[in-house]
Each structure stands twice: as structure tokens, then as C-alpha cells.
């Protein structure tokens, strides 16, 4: 399933399916983008980052795609597991300045 973070803040997927979480960022000059996962009662956990000179980066079960033309960032999670249930935040930064976070998307994985 897919979600636009700011307009559809919740995403529900079946265990084992792939998840796609989308994020529209605001500053066309941003040069660094990060995805964080936040579970209830915990601080944000770093997932993966990407610099503006790349359009794709892969990690373990996760892929981040960056489309600078439309200022869009997405996080793909392969074979989603119940432990992936959390709120996912995208963040952008410009010229080594502070991170600006989006509103977040809540991912719920159904067994």
C-alpha cells in the first residue's frame, strides 16, 4: 500500500506485503534526507538516509527513493513485519543545518 504522509497519516498493510510511505518535502535546496521510525514511548530511531546527489539507497529490507524534481521522498519496506508497526517520519536538512521533520505516517501491520 501507499501513503502520502501529510494527507493520509495512517497506512495499514498485511504482514508480508511491501509498504511504501511517501513524504513531500518543502525546501528545494535541502541536501540531506533521513527516515526515522518512532515506536510508542520511544525516541525516533534512525532507519536510512540519502544525500541529494543520489536518487536511491538501499538498506536491510528498506529502500529510500528521492525525486528532487517533485520534492518527493519515499520509504519502501519489504516483507513488512509486525515489528515494523510505528510512526515513520521523514526529515530534511540543508547545508548541515537542523533537521525539519514532517508530520509522520502511522504504519499498522496486520497479522
Amino acid at each position: 500500500g501507499e501513503s502520502v504522509g501529510l494527507h493520509l497519516p495512517t497506512l495499514s498493510v498485511q504482514e508480508g506485503d511491501n509498504s511504501i510511505i511517501n513524504c513531500a518535502y518543502s525546501n528545494s535546496a535541502s541536501d540531506y534526507f533521513i527516515w526515522y521510525k518512532q515506536e510508542s514511548g520511544k525516541g525516533p530511531q534512525f532507519i536510512i538516509d540519502i544525500r541529494s546527489n543520489m536518487d536511491k539507497r538501499q538498506g536491510q529490507r528498506v529502500t529510500v527513493l528521492l525525486n528532487k524534481t517533485v520534492k518527493h521522498l519515499s520509504l519502501q519496506i519489504a516483507a513488512t513485519q509486525p515489528g515494523d508497526s510505528a510512526v515513520y517520519f521523514c526529515a530534511e536538512a540543508y547545508n548541515n543545518n537542523d533537521m525539519r521533520f514532517g508530520a509522520g505516517t502511522r504504519l499498522t501491520v496486520k497479522p
Partner: protein, 113 residues
């Protein structure tokens, strides 16, 4: 290898009081940033400390101040607490000035009554 640690985990204060929150960065990190996260929202940047100086500041009033010690740990102080200061306060650490690969602590939940 200890991650970012914050204390206390929970705190209740009365409006008008002052509060101090503490953060120890991840081993090997020298930069500490503080964020405020209201319920249901993303973290908002307060300020960043590097080399014991405030390097960047977000849109927060002067009631919010901080300090970084020679061992890179940091404190966040909030004076004249308002009900609206109730939030989760997060500390993030990184290496070098800036925000690359910042790792967060579990946060301090502050409730102002």
C-alpha cells in the same frame, strides 16, 4: 556502547517553575541537538550545541536555554513554564557540527500542570 541517554524519563512541573533536562550523547559523538515533540506531531528543533557553544537555534523563545559540558553532555533549561511546554523533549547526538546521522535518546516526557 551506550546510546544517547536522557534523564529524567518523566517529569511533572507546575506552571511558572523552571526545569532542567539532561542528555549524554552516544559514545564518540560531540554534538547535541534538542527537539520538542508535541503529541501527534513531528519533532521541532530547539537548538544545537557543538564545542560547548550554541551553533544553531530554532524558533523558540529565550525561556529555552542550554549548555554543553566538556564531556559533550548537555542540559536543556526551560524557565517560566507554560502549559504549552508539555511535550516529549528529545536529545539527538551526532559527530561534528550539523545533523548527519543523528541518533535520538528515548526522551523526557514533561507535563506542566
Amino acid at each position: 556502547d551506550a546510546g544517547v541517554t536522557q534523564s529524567p524519563t518523566h517529569l511533572i512541573k507546575t506552571r511558572g517553575q523552571q526545569v532542567t533536562l539532561r542528555c549524554s550523547p552516544k559514545s564518540g559523538h560531540d554534538t547535541v541537538s534538542w527537539y520538542q515533540q508535541a503529541l501527534g506531531q513531528g519533532p521541532q528543533f530547539i537548538f544545537q550545541y557543538y564545542e560547548e557553544e550554541e551553533r544553531q537555534r530554532g524558533n523558540f523563545p529565550d525561556r529555552f536555554s542550554g549548555h554543553q559540558f566538556p564531556n559533550y553532555s548537555s542540559e536543556l533549561n526551560v524557565n517560566a513554564l507554560l502549559l504549552g511546554d508539555s511535550a516529549l523533549y528529545l536529545c539527538a547526538s551526532s559527530l561534528g557540527a550539523g545533523t548527519r546521522e543523528a541518533f535520538f535518546g528515548q526522551g523526557t516526557r514533561l507535563t506542566v500542570v
